[in-house]
Symmetry: C3
Subunit: 157 residues, 3 copies
């Protein structure tokens, strides 16, 4: 044990499935890979949507319950405002050349980021490997993820 | 100081009081203890509900403002949908043998996880030691928690 | 490389713009500085509101979609309840002598905490340096922030 493990690793647990909370993990993963930092992403709970084939292209952002969006809550519940907020956000993301989530996943995976799905969440939501995007490297439990992230800097999103 | 502190420690700050955000901290704490990792949990802000006797068995999940639940916001505000979403989630948790939150707290505490309540949040919500579940080891300030988590991997939930 | 970097650093990514999620980062930053821990804050996405001049004094907390506030969602959408919940929270914060967010930013910055704005978020929201509070040290990209936080304990709020 003369040699300490020196590789810097960023471990990101993604637990939210909204469009606005999908991007921070992807952006940080991408930035880390560009710096040569190892990246391990673990998708769990609502975050499973981000790596679920049928949902990844339909993530939404809702103005209700998010006071930072500066829309009155009453407006937020009128049908269509979630779609409006989502469209507005997509336009903003497009303006700064952010790729759609599915492309972004492919991009960071090609760049070497490891992508894991949480076994417990998959069981809870009845999701199998074939329901998940191709970039998912494996379905693992929380223990396995903790085992592979010793010494890592961790983020829970 | 020839010997570096080598014990791996996971420090989890739990700031949310919803049912869906209570479980990630508990699951990770449990997985970490099974691997022999030291665990220190710090409950603050809305997370105080998780360790408050009168609330721990009544945590809820709301579909409003959570686009990942795929319910229109208008449905979300109809009285009863929070209860419905909560019941659905409890059923899913039950299916994968997740214990209720109060049992889970007891389980991880028995396994050696340390549980702390935030003094500031307790003061803000007029909560005393007797209002909190038995598993709480102490009520400490943010400074004290930071002092005991030097070198730890940290998560903010 | 005989000498390891030994300075303990806390890196906090602030991605939420609600009043209740503004305080945890500020409280932890303050506690860390009082212990001599280096602090680097990175404001991004909705968290930009916390360091935006026109918004820092008008952060709100909404009861909708936050089951921990124990208000029925239907009440939450009635105009005025966000203001009511915000007023209630401000009163609670005042009771425990918490300074308003703008004062708190000044306080931790004076104590040596470094405050950064995310370039991508600034571009997305059309914010320039002059739109941000004086305490912002610089507008940097995610890569730059990761470069300056090697070895730090990280939190994503």
């Amino acid at each position: 044990m003369a040699e300490e493990e020196k590789t810097r690793t960023l471990a990101i647990i993604c637990s939210k499935g909204s469009l606005d909370m999908a991007y921070p993990g992807l952006v940080l993963a991408n930035a880390a890979r560009m710096l040569g930092i190892e990246v391990k992403l673990f998708f769990t709970f609502w975050g499973m949507d981000i790596i679920t084939k049928s949902k990844v292209d339909h993530l939404k952002v809702t103005p209700v319950g998010n006071p930072a969006m500066h829309m009155p809550n009453l407006v937020g519940v009128i049908p269509g405002t979630t779609d409006l907020a989502t469209a507005m956000m997509k336009k903003s993301l497009d303006k700064i050349d952010m790729p759609p989530v599915s492309e972004f996943l492919e991009m960071i995976h090609d760049a070497g980021a490891e992508i894991y799905a949480c076994r417990m969440a998959a069981d809870m939501m009845n999701l199998n490997r074939k329901d998940l995007v191709n970039e998912v490297d494996d379905i693992v439990g929380a223990m396995e993820f903790l085992e592979m992230t010793e010494g890592a800097q961790m983020l829970f999103i």
